[in-house]
Amino acid sequence: MSARGVKRLAAPAEAMQHQREWFRSLRGPIVLADADVPHELFRALEIPYVVNQWWASICAAKQKAPLYLEALRARGYPDDVDAYSAIGLGSVLAEDDDPPWGGLPPVGLFATQRWSDAHEGIAGAWAAETDAATFAFEKAVDRRVPERWWERVADEWEDVIGSERLDLMEAEMHELVGLLEARFRRRFDVERLVPILELANEQQEWSRRTRDLLAATSPAPIDVVDSIPAVMIPQWHRGSVWARDAARRFHEEVEAAVERGDAVCPDERLRLMWIGRGLWFNLGFYQHFQERHGAVFVWSMYLAIAADGYPRRGGEPLRQLAARFAAFSDFLGMPGWADPWYVAEAKRHRVDGVVHLVAPESRSAWFATQALEDAGIPVLELDADNADARRWDEAAFVGALERFIEERLPRR
């Protein structure tokens, strides 16, 4: 079983090829930004940025994460707390004469959103250990829990997210722009942001169509080994023409595959959902169960959140952008927000079972598992870290999933 997994479409390979060429063209100083930070600002300011979690996934895929985590431990930092967000720092601190893709260019600013205590520590470590400036957005918490946010947030974001949180993040974006203008000698023009937001929405609209098409199609024409890279690499270039077109080409490929009647598993007997971050060092795990059990991983959060969590329409540009991120981690990890969405997606995709990657920082794991089980959808929880292969026990997890399939999922 190859750690990379077998890809069926051109989209992931094209996206990866683009990623290599783009990364080779990068010149520092860059911004290294966490996934839930408004990248569109950097694009509007024409400042090169790399997404911290994407870079960690490359380091993990190249089996470098252990070396980079060890570099953190050597300086007294924890190597087992939110590793996915810390590997980037380890990659610039480690002694490595063969870094993935030549290594990160110099980082001028590290940007994060402070929703876990570790995020604050990681930003502090960047400031202490490197010459990078840092900016941490607050993660405000709303006392309300809106019903079925995914059906409303694209257009009714002022109400769903709450004006107080939007006021705060919009004001913080002005502060970040000031820091970026000074640090990178650029001038922000909101008019440049408008087409970026439009392209971003078009991109997510293509993702929504792809999600809906895959949800409605059995047997599944592709699995998550194709969809994850095909949707996430363009997501890290959100607001660019390339990313919008990549999402469209991905949709067209899936549409063609459906028309041809392609099937990952012609005798597909089980449709599985993967909740949690992707296994970057071991995408092959998702395909291990196809042959013997006809079990296909048809869902991961990446395509679905692109469809439901990213689109925002109307309003002032900066406020619309603030609305994309002020509640983003609530969608995927806050009780009352995340668990109903997972159940709705499980039903939309007619899944038979869920494999739930539970790490310490998984914020609503019990609630998601409980809600799915209450909805009659069996869940297997795997306690592991998606980016740190040192704690991945292949035999144990394959065995656990085999037993789950045989003991808890319907026999067809």
Binding site: Y77, E138, A140, S362, R363
Partner: protein, 318 residues
């Protein structure tokens, strides 16, 4: 009964013999002044030894500290003598406790004070609005200036307590009790008792070694007492149940809500000097606190031992 003995008793019995009109608070950022101004007494909640925590461990998971899981368990069991509870954004543990609690116990009368901490005017404005909302929920800000003044009378005793501790005149566990009693008493009464307890501080043999305790929080005195037993003594700490409770002073002129933001928003509230031994206690589920240790090492210019068990702690202070 001596003032020290009385404060020890308040600290140990704070949930069995709560103050009148107690209102539960969770976390280090709920301004006691605002609660007292509304006619209540803030009772800061901590885990209860005799409450089963197994469900709470599953619901919150191992990424949340044991203390927060213990408080969830006790709240779900109705084990605290309070009807209303305010939680805050002092840490991710408290946020995850709140967001779970509002789903698991929708009938509990909860409020979440989203007081944030980035050192920016944008956060100050956000925090002030959240304090005003809390005042409304509490039934109005009442005599907030008066409550601030009463709180400051206790804060004014902070330096004296710190000095006595550094001189070894107060055992570690007693110091934690003197500080913790303030989380379960009206400010005026607390200041009165604390003043006389410090005035009567008995002579004690100097501890074999002074210890600065960093890292996770200590809602009970198990670790402190364990250090005392070795002949050493915790003389200062950075966590939220320690000297930070009395740190600083809330401005008594100008807008009182602004004054509360200026006091509760900045962190850290205390930066103690090095002691003979520096130990970071890391509680289960609170591993993220280790991210702060390299910066503390640089600030203190000293090595910091890490302890996760009482045995490791005893070795560190041996």
């Amino acid at each position: 009964m001596s003032a020290l003995a009385e404060l020890r008793g308040v600290y140990r019995e704070r949930f069995a013999r709560p103050p009148e009109r107690a209102l539960g608070v969770v976390g280090a950022d709920v301004p006691r002044e605002l609660v007292e101004a509304s006619g209540h007494v803030a009772l800061r909640l901590a885990p209860l030894a005799d409450v089963d925590r197994s469900f709470a461990d599953r619901a919150l998971g191992r990424g949340v500290g044991e203390a927060a899981r213990g408080i969830l368990a006790a709240l779900l069991e109705g084990a605290y003598p309070v009807e209303r509870v305010v939680l805050c954004h002092d840490s991710d543990h408290t946020v995850r406790l709140y967001t779970a609690l509002r789903r698991l116990a929708p009938r509990l009368d909860l409020w979440f004070l989203d007081l944030l901490h980035q050192p920016r005017a944008t956060t100050d404005a956000y925090d002030r609005a959240r304090l005003a909302e809390l005042a409304g929920w509490l039934g109005g800000a009442g005599d907030l200036p008066g409550a601030i003044a009463a709180g400051n009378r206790a804060r004014a005793l902070g330096p004296r307590l710190a000095a006595l501790r550094r001189e070894g005149r107060i055992a570690g566990a007693d110091a934690l009790a003197l500080l913790g009693a303030g989380t379960a008493l009206p400010a005026a009464r607390y200041a009165e008792l604390l003043e006389s307890a410090l005035a009567d501080a008995p002579e004690r043999p100097r501890p074999r070694a002074s210890v600065l305790l960093l890292g996770s929080e200590h809602h009970d005195d198990a670790v402190y007492a364990s250090v005392d037993e070795t002949g050493a003594a915790v003389v200062a700490e950075t966590h939220g149940w320690g000297e930070s409770l009395l740190a600083g002073r809330v401005d008594e002129d100008g807008d009182p809500l602004d004054a509360l933001v200026r006091h509760y928003r900045p962190r850290p509230r205390v930066e103690p000097d090095p002691a003979d031994v520096q130990v970071a206690w890391i509680a289960p589920g609170d591993e993220a606190v280790a991210w702060s240790l390299p910066a503390e090492r640089r600030r203190l210019g000293r090595e910091i031992a890490v302890a996760r068990t009482l045995d490791e702690l005893r070795q560190a202070v041996a």
